[in-house]
């Protein structure tokens, strides 16, 4: 038997990593009359934990309609983008070229979605996305992509205004920002909105996507002696950060803001002690007081046992938005559905939504919550109270989408 050499180990590591990235798509051809819709949901990579619940949300919206629209059957296909731009664009092109998909929803990562949006433009297919990058409805806007999530400006304004209303003396902010498209967008507007409140940003550290060791960042934050720490990150990054901030004794002494949180999916991973004095901004919270949210939450809980967070709710609402577009257009042709979605107004799970025809941005409420102390929780998922919502759209002077373009 040969001795294992250092180079062998390095080579094997590379082979192992490559093997982990492989996916095996099923090839099934669409029937002529079917409307094929692709859900691009990650089953591997950084957002592997979210993919299955996004899939649930989308399926629930399609099932509500009996998998039919305009009297035609809907064929729902889902592919794993592996939270990587290369894999996601390849899977999208395969679904469009090989299976006749003309409507794409997803993926979950902002950076990856920007790449998928370019594919949608080139292939002339309709693309719906929900995430924190402002570029989809901003500098890289085009006729084929739509943004369901609130604008980062709307989120920043809702969070900063309402937090300062409750904590007027908390002027020294330390930011902890995920170092990719979504983090940069939200950070920019937190700083912009903060000017009106006289906020001083005593520190702003960026961390890579998938960071798990936050002790160094938290030590730095503690050294700045801030009145509040605001995190602009998501998923496991946010959970790891919040846990470390608690371990270092910052919370509950000083408040922690999770600016752009998935809500339930993140909060359930934190103990009640860690959640104390955490303030949460999110695109959806399950206690939203709208008829559509109540019906959806009831149905979701009956099916899966736990309340839905931002991810399944976004997938559900994006799918309903697309179906409303088909209804309004009375057509399944991509340009017709796009025209129908431009300016469409709906009362959905988050409340009143309107798609701005000039930017394809969803103008809608953003939610701001405060976590409950353990003693005040009525049941294990009674994490927080919604204390405010806000829907201030991005002011015209900040709008980077000057021309949405043509087909």
């Amino acid at each position: 038997m040969s001795r294992l050499k250092r180079r062998d180990v390095l080579k094997m590591g590379a082979i192992g990593a490559a093997a982990a990235g492989l996916g095996f798509p099923a090839i099934v051809r669409a029937q002529a009359k079917e409307i094929v819709i692709l859900g691009l949901w990650d089953q591997t990579g950084a957002f592997a934990d979210v993919g299955p619940i996004l899939d649930r949300g989308m399926k629930m919206a399609l099932d509500e309609r009996g998998m039919k629209v305009l009297g035609r059957p809907i064929k729902y296909i889902t592919r794993d983008g592996a939270t990587q731009a290369g894999t996601s664009t390849r899977r999208t092109e395969e679904a469009v070229d090989g299976e006749g998909a003309k409507f794409v929803i997803g993926p979950w990562s902002s950076g990856v979605a920007l790449a998928v949006s370019e594919v949608a433009k080139r292939k002339k297919v309709l693309h719906l996305f929900s995430g924190g990058t402002e570029d989809i409805s901003g500098s890289r806007c085009h006729r084929y992509s739509f943004q369901w999530a609130a604008s980062p400006y709307t989120a920043a304004k809702t969070v900063v205004d309402n937090f300062m209303k409750a904590n007027p003396k908390a002027k020294r902010w330390h930011l902890l920002v995920a170092d990719y498209a979504f983090g940069w967008s939200v950070e920019k507007y937190i700083k912009e909105v903060g000017k009106a409140h006289g906020l001083e940003f005593v520190g702003a550290d960026r961390h890579p996507l998938g960071e798990r060791e936050f002790s160094n960042y938290v030590q730095k934050a503690a050294a700045n002696r801030p009145d509040v720490v605001a995190m602009i990150n998501f998923g496991l990054d946010a959970v790891s950060g919040a846990r470390e901030i608690f371990n270092f004794g910052l919370t509950p002494k000083i408040p922690l803001i999770m600016t752009w949180s998935s809500g339930v999916e993140e909060l359930v991973q934190l103990s009640p002690e860690i959640r104390e004095n955490i303030w949460v901004g999110s695109n959806f919270y399950y206690t939203a007081d709208t008829p559509a949210a109540k019906a959806f939450v009831k149905s979701y809980q009956a099916k899966w046992g736990n309340p839905p967070g931002y991810a399944p709710s976004a997938a559900y609402s994006m799918t309903r938005l697309l179906l409303a577009g088909f209804d309004k257009a009375k057509s399944a042709e991509v340009p017709d559905v796009i025209r129908a979605l431009e300016g469409i107004e709906l009362n959905d799970i988050v409340g009143r939504m309107r798609i701005d025809p000039a930017t394809h941005q969803n103008i809608r409420p953003y939610f701001f919550m405060r976590c409950k102390p353990k003693a005040a929780m009525k049941h294990p998922t009674d994490f927080a109270d919604i204390i405010a919502t806000g829907d201030t759209p991005l002011p015209k002077e900040h709008a980077a989408c000057k021309d949405i373009g043509s087909f």
Binding site: V9, I15, D49, P52, R206, K220, R243
Partner: protein
């Protein structure tokens, strides 16, 4: 120190058994989940900390006896496939048993909160982990250096055939070495729980670092693994103080820099 523990366990397995153990990260995750479950079930963190790594060692024993033992003569390709497949099975088993969503577990009451060290504020539990991991590394070191069985293991790393010819049951030694490596991965995972909580992907995060530690220290060199673990931890902490964004990449930069100067690693000879 946790990096050193992980690296030491992996280095033991790589050095003595001469196999690339891609399941080492999964064993780390199993240790973490066993601790979290045992602590909740028993209601005592300290007993759970004692029991959970032993569970991983037992699992290691079974893996070596029932699987790896059959592949010693088969070549590295088969060993890689086996341990990689095992890592996937263990990760999926974690999801099946404990679910896809992670959760937090707080440090025991006595170790909550932090200490003001003057120049910085540091959580008590992290200080405990540093001391505990240090003691474990020391105990492993003493076992390997000062006991007869440790000497046999070190001899096994140098020359298996010779040890076997001296009438020592080399297969039994392989089993013990794998179980010991698994124990070290398991206790590193268990100690991590109050700091990082548990989630199904936690093993993958740690596996990469463990391989860096082994390559950096020199394959099969136990002192090298300890030194490399400490070097990476210190480099990460120092860089994070001045350039936070680079704190992850520095792990790989240190490895690349050392391997450029010493391709055999810090203390390696091959």
């Amino acid at each position: 120190m946790l990096y050193a523990l992980m690296g030491l366990g992996l280095s033991l397995i790589t050095g003595i058994l001469n196999i690339p153990n891609f399941a080492h990260g999964a064993l780390f995750a199993v240790g973490a989940y066993l601790l979290a479950s045992a602590a909740v079930a028993i209601g005592n963190f300290w007993i759970a900390l004692l029991v959970a790594p032993l569970g991983v060692a037992l699992l290691g024993l079974v893996i070596e006896y029932a699987g790896i033992r059959r592949l010693y003569a088969a070549g590295h390709d088969y060993q890689l496939l086996f341990t990689f497949g095992l890592a996937l099975i263990l990760s999926e088993a974690i999801i099946l048993i404990w679910g896809p969503v992670g959760y937090s577990y707080l440090p025991p009451q006595a170790l909550r909160g932090g200490l003001d060290l003057g120049f910085t504020f540091y959580p008590k539990y992290r200080l405990f982990v540093m001391v505990m991991a240090g003691l474990l590394v020391l105990a492993t070191w003493l076992f390997l250096e000062k006991t007869r069985y440790g000497a046999i293991m070190r001899a096994g790393i140098e020359n298996k055939e010779m040890v076997s010819l001296l009438g020592i049951d080399i297969h039994k030694m392989f089993t013990v070495a794998f179980a010991l490596g698994a124990y070290l991965a398991g206790i590193a995972g268990a100690l991590t729980v109050p700091i990082r909580g548990v989630n199904p992907g936690m093993g993958v995060d740690m596996l990469g670092i463990a391989f860096v530690v082994v390559a950096l220290g020199g394959l099969g060199n136990l002192l090298g693994a300890i030194a490399a673990g400490l070097l990476i931890g210190v480099a990460q902490a120092l860089v994070a103080g001045y350039w936070t964004e680079a704190s992850t990449v520095v792990i790989y930069a240190v490895m690349a820099a050392v391997l450029l100067v010493r391709p055999q690693g810090l203390f390696g000879i091959r």
